[in-house]
C-alpha cells in the first residue's frame, strides 16, 4: 500500500507526465493521462509491494503492457519510494535508466514492454507458475491498452488464461478508445468489447476508469470473483478518456504523439493541473503554478478535432469510419455512424 492517496498519486502522475514529456519531447502524453487513475489506484490501494525490497517474493506482480505509457509507472514507482523522484527528469535523456517504454532495469519493474501484445502472455506465465507451485501469496496484474487488443497474441493469452483457470490474474484494459492514428473503432472494430472477453471465458467488470471510487470497487469485486468464480480470470474494462485531466488534450488524437511544447501548451497544461491539485500535494516543478501563462492565440491549433478535420484527416478512407466524436471534451465519443 502506498504513501499517497490514489487521488494524490494520480495528480502526481499527471504532473510528472506533463513535465517528463515536456522536457524530453517524448510521446504518448494522451495515454499517460488516460491510464493515470488506474495506475494510481493500483499503487495506492491495490498492489502489495515493498519499495525497499523490490524483489520481495510476496509482492503482487505488475506488468504495464502498454509500455508507451511508461512515464506513468515510473512516476508511481518514484513517488512510492522505489527510486528518487528527481530521476524522473532524466526520462529519455542520454545515460538515463528511464527509457520511453517500460524497462525492467529499474527497481520495481517486473517486466519490460514496448512492443504491444506481450504483457498479457507474460502475466499468464507468472500466474501459471504461481498456480503450479500452489503459491497463493500474490496476484498478477497487467494493464493493457484497447488499441493493443488489435494484436492477435492478446487473444491467444486470453484463451490460455481461461483454459488454465488463472483466477490469480487480473487484467485491466485502459479503454480510451483511441490509438495511434484514429479512434479504435475506426481502426479495427473492438465492440462489443466486454462480450468478447466474456466469450473468452473471463469475468468482466466495466467501469469508468478515471473514477477512483469505481476503480476501487472494481478491484474489490475482482478479489471477490477470485473466491466465488475461481475458475475464471478477471478483466476490468476501464472506460477512460485519452488525455484526461488537461482539457485541450482530451479525446484529441494529436496528443497521442505530440508533447507539450513551450508556450501555451505547457503553461496551459500546468495551470489546469495546478488548479485541480488535491490537498496535501505540492507541485514539484512549479509550486505556484505559472504566473502570466502564455495563452493560445486565435491562430493556434487548439480545440480542433484532429481526428476528423482536414489538418489531420485528409485522406482517411471513409469506409473505415465507425464513430464520430468531438475533441477536447469528456463527452461520450461513441456515436456509431449509420451504415448505408
Amino acid at each position: 500500500m502506498g504513501h499517497w492517496t490514489s487521488e494524490q498519486l494520480a495528480w502526481l502522475i499527471r504532473r510528472h507526465g506533463i513535465e517528463m514529456t515536456h522536457l524530453s519531447g517524448g510521446s504518448h502524453i494522451g495515454a499517460i493521462l488516460s491510464v493515470a487513475d488506474i495506475m494510481a489506484v493500483l499503487y495506492a490501494d491495490v498492489l502489495n509491494y515493498k519499495a525497499d525490497e523490490p524483489k520481495w517474493a510476496g509482492r503482487d506482480r505488475f506488468i504495464l503492457s502498454k509500455g508507451h505509457a511508461g512515464a506513468s509507472v515510473y512516476a508511481a514507482l518514484a513517488e512510492e519510494g522505489f527510486f528518487p523522484v528527481e530521476e524522473l527528469k532524466t526520462h529519455y535523456q542520454n545515460g538515463s535508466r528511464l527509457s520511453g517504454h517500460v524497462s525492467h532495469h529499474l527497481p520495481g519493474v517486473d517486466f519490460s514492454t514496448g512492443s504491444l501484445g506481450h504483457g498479457l502472455s507474460a502475466a499468464c506465465g507468472m500466474a501459471y507458475a504461481a498456480k503450479k507451485d500452489h503459491d497463493d501469496s500474490h496476484r498478477v496484474f497487467v494493464v493493457l491498452g484497447d488499441g493493443e487488443c488489435n494484436e492477435g497474441s492478446v487473444w491467444e493469452a486470453a484463451l490460455f488464461a481461461n483454459h488454465f483457470r488463472l483466477n490469480n490474474l487480473i487484467a485491466i484494459v485502459d479503454h480510451n478508445r483511441m490509438q495511434s492514428l484514429d479512434f479504435s473503432e475506426n481502426t479495427l472494430e473492438l465492440e462489443d468489447f466486454a462480450t468478447k472477453w466474456k466469450a473468452f471465458g473471463w469475468n468482466v467488470i466495466e467501469i469508468d476508469g478515471n473514477n477512483h471510487a469505481e476503480l476501487k470497487s472494481a478491484f474489490k469485486k475482482a478479489e471477490e470473483y477470485r473466491n466465488t468464480e475461481p475458475h475464471k480470470p478477471t478483466v476490468i474494462i476501464a472506460d477512460t478518456v485519452k488525455g484526461c485531466g488537461v482539457s485541450f488534450m482530451q479525446n484529441d488524437i494529436l496528443w497521442h504523439y505530440r508533447f507539450p511544447h513551450n508556450g501555451w501548451e505547457y503553461d496551459g497544461a500546468v495551470n489546469e493541473l495546478h488548479n485541480a491539485r488535491p490537498a496535501g500535494v505540492e507541485d514539484p516543478y512549479t509550486p505556484n503554478g505559472i504566473q502570466n501563462p502564455v495563452k493560445p492565440q486565435s491562430t493556434d491549433d487548439i480545440g480542433h478535432d484532429h481526428t476528423f478535420t482536414s489538418t489531420w484527416n485528409t485522406s482517411y478512407p471513409e469506409t473505415m469510419r465507425r464513430v464520430t466524436a468531438k475533441s477536447g471534451t469528456k463527452e461520450p465519443v461513441h456515436c456509431v455512424v449509420e451504415e448505408n
Partner: protein, 308 residues
C-alpha cells in the same frame, strides 16, 4: 534425435521439479513419455507460439526452467520478437526447442523447412544456439542446457539419426568436438548434416586424403579458439550446415577467420545457397538437390585449387 531429447529431458525433469515442458500442440507420440512420467511439468499451450513463448518467459522469471517445443519455424520465427524481448532481454531461463532443423520435413514443403533459424537466432544477444550432430550430442546438449541459466535455442533433427560419436568427454557449451585428426583439409559441421560429413570423410579417405573433422554443437558462442588454431595449421577449412550459407554457422566461422591476422586456410562454405527450397522430396533427396549430401561435399572440396 527428438526421442533422445525427450528421454533425456524426462530423466532431468524427474530430478529437477523446476523443469517445465511447454508444447505448441506438437509432439504426437513423441512427448508421451514426458507427460506420462512428469504430468505436472507438462503444458500444451495450443497452436499459439507467441503466447507460448511469453508464457514461458513469465514462468521462467518466477523460477522455472522452461523448454518450449515445436517444429520447423514455429517456435522461432513465428514468435521471434517474444524470444528477443521477453526471453533474451530478460535473460529468462527459456530453452526454445525446434524439431526439424534444415530439410527434415522435406516433402511437407518450404513452410516446414527451417533453413534460416541459426542465422536469425544467432543474431540475438544473450541467446545460446546449439545444433547437435547426432544422438550423443543431442543428449549432451539437453543436459548442458538444463543446467545453463538463460535463454537458448536447441535445433534438433527428427528421427533416424545415428550415434556417430562413441562418447564425448568434457562436453561444454561453446566447445567444438574433434572427431578426426587430419592434415590440409579440415571439415567443420553443425547439426544432423554430420552424417553426410561422415560419409564424405570416408570417401575422401578412400581417395587418399586425410581430412580433419570437427563438429560444432554450439553455433553461438562459437569456438573461436579451435577455428583460429585450425585456420593456422590447415590449407582449407570447410563449413557444412543444413541451412542458408548467409548468416549461419559458416558465417560464424567466416567472421572469426576474417579477423585473423595470420591465417593459412581458405574457407569454403557449404549449405543452402541463399534460396528457398521449391523442390519436393525427402531430406536425403533435398540434400542432394541443394548440394550438401556426401557426394556434393566431396566434389566441392576436391574442386578447391588449394588441395589439388
Amino acid at each position: 534425435m527428438r526421442d533422445t531429447f525427450v528421454k533425456t529431458l524426462v530423466e532431468l525433469a524427474k530430478i529437477d521439479k523446476n523443469i517445465e515442458l511447454v508444447t505448441g500442440d506438437l509432439g504426437f507420440g513423441v512427448l508421451k513419455p514426458f507427460w506420462e512420467q512428469c504430468p505436472n511439468q507438462f503444458t500444451n499451450a495450443g497452436i499459439a507460439e507467441q503466447n507460448m513463448t511469453s508464457v514461458a518467459a513469465g514462468m521462467a522469471l518466477e523460477g522455472k526452467t522452461v523448454f518450449t517445443y515445436s517444429i520447423g519455424n514455429f517456435p522461432t520465427l513465428r514468435c521471434l520478437e517474444q524470444i528477443r524481448n521477453d526471453c533474451a532481454y530478460h535473460k529468462a531461463n527459456v530453452k526454445v526447442v525446434c524439431i526439424g532443423g534444415g530439410f527434415v520435413y522435406g516433402s511437407l514443403g518450404m513452410s516446414h523447412q527451417a533453413t534460416e533459424d541459426l542465422a536469425i537466432l544467432r543474431a540475438l544477444p544473450d541467446v545460446v544456439v546449439m545444433a547437435p550432430a547426432d544422438l550423443v550430442e543431442a543428449e549432451e546438449c539437453t543436459k548442458a542446457l538444463a543446467k545453463y541459466k538463460g535463454t537458448a535455442y536447441l535445433r534438433l533433427g527428427r528421427g533416424g539419426e545415428k550415434r556417430i560419436h562413441d562418447k564425448i568427454g568434457n562436453f561444454e557449451i561453446g566447445k567444438a568436438i574433434k572427431v578426426h585428426d587430419g592434415e590440409k583439409i579440415a571439415v567443420f559441421s553443425t547439426g544432423a548434416i554430420f552424417e553426410e560429413v561422415t560419409a564424405a570423410y570416408e570417401e575422401l579417405k578412400k581417395q587418399g586424403y586425410n581430412p580433419a573433422v570437427y563438429t560444432f554443437p554450439t553455433v553461438k558462442p562459437i569456438d573461436k579458439e579451435i577455428i583460429e588454431k585450425v585456420s593456422q595449421e590447415f590449407d582449407l577449412v570447410v563449413s557444412v550446415e543444413e541451412h542458408n550459407v548467409v548468416g549461419g554457422f559458416g558465417s560464424a566461422v567466416a567472421e572469426v577467420m576474417a579477423e585473423m591476422k595470420n591465417k593459412k586456410a581458405k574457407l569454403l562454405r557449404i549449405g543452402l545457397n541463399d534460396e528457398y527450397s521449391i523442390r519436393v522430396g525427402n531430406q536425403k533427396y533435398l540434400r542432394q538437390q541443394y548440394g550438401m549430401d556426401s557426394n556434393s561435399i566431396v566434389e566441392k572440396i576436391l574442386k578447391e585449387p588449394t588441395n589439388v
